[in-house]
Symmetry: C2
Subunit: 232 residues, 2 copies
DNA sequence: TCAGTAATTCATCATATCATGAAATACGCA
DNA sequence: TGCGTATTTCATGATATGATGAATTACTGA
């Protein structure tokens, strides 16, 4: 009877460990973080995470086996997505635990940002206040497909790659707040750097769309509205 | 510059993965679950989790390196404890994700319990109602040290090992609700089995103290109050 | 039906993880 | 000082994981 109990416990903790194994590798975590932004094909994920295609496919398989992501084939492409919104929550709770418990996370981020100039990100309250004053242009600098999958209401989509040649669309007399995937995504850092170099008053919002949404703020889906969707 | 970004991301996700690695092994998860009940020495943990001493020590080291637990030496003994209440939360969110995403968890539990007779645990609402009616004796069947570290207010401590010889303390005219460490701990299952065999109306509360507390219910610390602490 | 593309599977090698037993530490107490 | 106990470290072999390139599968469209 005792050994029956032991077998039960072992079986249960083995199951829990499947999820642990899923998130025990840095590349897999990066893939998961990307998938928090929305569905993607294998190729897109591999490229974005700097992985070989074979390698990415293998990691995605591991994530699938941990039931953290799901794959759907349509035509030539396989689209991966988070299996469940609870997976996103879990990822954020891992991230927040890492931030709290691992001093190295803060260290690494500090060192990375201090070489740059945009140390302090705007916080949510400030942003909301400035947006209400109508004094801010919010720019989503992620690839367009991520914008489509969900963005801050009223944000304009200018993927980082297009930013330089689309500067004319931005007004110099308004503050600009750029955001991207979240606190460890560098797109908005680069955007702010570029914008400041061109004389804009630019700031970075640390939160990404999933964080924003998790805090209960509304998220818009689809293409940009024609004009005054500015209802942040 | 791109490679600087890559190095930053790699460094960050490597940090996140430290925590993932910490929880990627079934034995470590069992140890962590035990530590959610309160601090323990290496030997006690090893014994409870059915691990060799060397092995347990190694796993605890891994948990320490993931900053999930902390060790404190006092005299001959090293006491391990959860590094932070957020670690407990994280464990519960892992467990809940596993329950939701991994059909096997439900399967394994169902098979384990259906061989027994106490399929359906009492739920919290029912318990609270019955307690208010004064019709229930709540029994904590975990080892006494875990009871001391935190128990449901009004619960009596009768460790499973003592249950048989302390049956006289229990009244036949009251329902008995036994609880232990949580949904995957078998102490309360065995307790209910024993009690029913002796003619008691016994039920199992699935939740453990950490779950109870996480839901905002009060938890009492220390020895049993002399008499009417029944203030659940 | 064949070429072309997306993704997976397979094979391989290097490295990491795990369980175990033996040896070493660290501490309390006689 | 030396013995006994709790714990860690070390060494070992078995197994798992991870990166890579080659081969394969699955599908589209000419």
């Amino acid at each position: 009877m005792a050994s029956r109990n032991r077998r039960f416990k072992t079986a249960i903790y083995e199951q829990f460990a499947r999820i642990g194994k899923g998130i025990s590798n840095p590349s897999r975590l990066e893939l998961l973080d990307l998938l928090c932004q929305g569905p993607r094909t294998v190729e897109a994920l591999a490229k974005e995470a700097g992985l070989g295609l074979t390698n990415a496919s293998q990691h995605l398989k591991a994530l699938r086996e941990a039931r953290l992501v799901e794959a759907e084939k349509s035509g030539l492409f396989v689209t991966y997505r988070l299996a469940d919104e609870q997976v996103g929550q879990f990822f954020r709770s891992l991230r927040s635990l890492a931030e709290r418990r691992l001093a190295e996370v803060g260290e690494i981020t500090r060192r990375f940002l201090e070489a740059r100039e945009d140390l302090q990100p705007v916080d949510r309250e400030q942003l909301l206040a400035r947006v209400r004053d109508g004094a801010v242009t919010v720019v989503d600098v992620r690839p367009r497909e991520e914008y489509r999958a969900g963005h801050l209401p009223g944000a304009v989509s200018i993927p980082l790659k297009e930013l330089e040649r689309r500067l004319a669309e931005l007004r110099h007399d308004r503050e600009i707040v750029a955001y991207c995937r979240g606190p460890y995504c560098v797109l908005s850092v680069e955007a702010v750097e570029l914008l400041r170099a061109r004389g804009f008053a630019a700031f970075r919002l640390e939160e990404g769309v999933p964080d924003w949404q998790a805090k209960g703020f509304p998220v818009a889906v689809g293409e940009e509205a024609a004009a005054g969707e500015r209802t942040l």
